[in-house]
């Protein structure tokens, strides 16, 4: 935090409005304005927004929406990098608006654009249908034919060791914010590519010992628009705000598919892992 506080004077020095004035710091916020219902035309609206050391880009946008132009369309919810709603391009890079402090951008001008590689709805709001469709296609849930709790008499719970959990835990932190999808160079041109989020989630369920290996066919992953169109550009991991590291998940899944891994998928054996209650 000390580093961010020190950056405020730098912004103050760069702000034309603030020179010689007694007002607090301010930045110039440029917001992309467009409405898909009116075609592809767009413009940038500019707002002067006062900031404090704790001001995030989302705060600045909400200030502009409250006091300058209440027609700005923004999607947000938790304001604490937990829901993934406020993803947008800020100064050219996909970020979460609530998680980006104005000072860390080190610029008196902040440009907010909608996430690329998503269809535009309005202003900073994009359509996540394609993204969720890709996510659903990899079956993002535990599949275990032995886990019929209604009929099995011996079942009580799955037991996982901490080591088992560590194999997939970081990939479960995904908040589906779409920043990785926006940053990916393959998604930029290939609409059939599953995207880093879906592929990382495929690995998350593959590596989970509770899943019983029924994903072995993975037809939509082992496909010419599947995992093989990832080229480890690393942009997804570079922008991920939660440390999911989708690139790691994708390469680990690829290791399995190229059969370079000797680690066989552990099959969750209910009788071995469970305790009788």
């Amino acid at each position: 935090m000390a580093g961010i506080i020190e950056k405020i004077p730098m912004l103050r020095a760069g702000s034309k409005k603030d020179r010689g004035s007694k007002t607090s710091s301010s930045i110039t916020l440029r917001v992309y304005r467009s409405n898909s219902a009116n075609g592809n035309s767009y413009r940038y609206d500019t707002f002067d927004v006062p900031i404090q050391r704790w001001t995030t880009v989302l705060d600045a946008l909400l200030y502009a929406k409250a006091y300058e132009d209440n027609s700005i369309a923004i999607r947000y919810s938790c304001r604490m990098a937990s829901c993934g709603s406020c993803g947008m391009k800020i100064n050219g890079r996909p970020r979460l608006a609530c998680y980006t402090n104005v000072a860390e951008l080190e610029s008196p001008v902040i440009t907010c654009q909608p996430l690329t590689n998503f269809s535009l709805i309005r202003d900073l709001v994009t359509d996540f249908s394609e993204f969720f469709r890709h996510h659903k296609s990899i079956k993002p849930f535990i599949i275990n034919q032995n886990a019929d709790l209604m009929t099995s008499e011996e079942v009580s719970e799955f037991i996982q060791s901490p080591r088992d959990v560590d194999e997939y835990l970081q990939f479960s932190y995904c908040i589906k914010c779409g920043l990785c999808y926006s940053a990916c160079p393959t998604v930029a041109t290939d609409v059939r590519f599953l995207g880093p989020q879906a592929l990382a989630q495929a690995y998350r369920y593959y590596a989970d010992t509770r899943d019983n290996g029924s994903r072995e066919d993975m037809k939509n992953i082992d496909d010419k628009h599947g995992i093989w169109r990832c080229h480890f550009a690393g942009s997804c991991s570079n922008v991920c705000p939660k440390g999911v590291d989708p690139a790691l998940g994708i390469q680990l899944l690829r290791r399995h598919l190229t059969s370079f891994s000797k680690h066989d998928k552990k099959i969750a054996e209910m009788k071995h892992h469970s305790q009788v209650t």
């Binding site: 041109t189 290939d190 609409v191 082992d222 496909d223 010419k224 628009h225 093989w228 190229t258």
Partner: protein, 116 residues
């Protein structure tokens, strides 16, 4: 048709193998002074060496597969209409075969040529 994972395995293997054979090919140009090595008689003498001719043929095949598969990957990512994808696959396979055939012709003819 090959599965995509088999194609990618081939892509990795041809890339690695091509690295070794191309290194030998380049070194052949350096065992005598470079400009001398490019004289017609010296080049033909290389082609007369059966092992070297086999080396050249292997470079041709490995690089044609690796290169055109790479081009196929790039083109597949550009557009996703099925007509485009089928066209790209056919084009890269035909181009691969054509370049291998053309290069093989050179190797065979040069192997049969006398010096000078």
């Amino acid at each position: 048709m090959l599965q995509e994972r088999q194609i990618m395995r081939i892509h990795y293997i041809t890339g690695l193998a091509a690295l070794f054979v191309v290194a030998v090919h380049i070194l052949m140009r350096l065992i005598v002074p470079y400009h001398t090595s490019l004289q017609f008689s010296n080049v033909i003498a290389n082609y007369h060496n059966f092992s070297y001719a086999v080396l050249l043929e292997s470079i041709l095949v490995l690089l044609a597969i690796h290169g055109f598969n790479g081009l196929r990957v790039i083109l597949l990512e550009l557009r996703q209409k099925s007509s485009w994808e089928n066209g790209v696959t056919i084009f890269t396979i035909v181009a691969m075969i054509a370049i291998i055939a053309f290069g093989t012709r050179t190797i065979i003819v040069a192997n049969g040529l006398g010096v000078g």
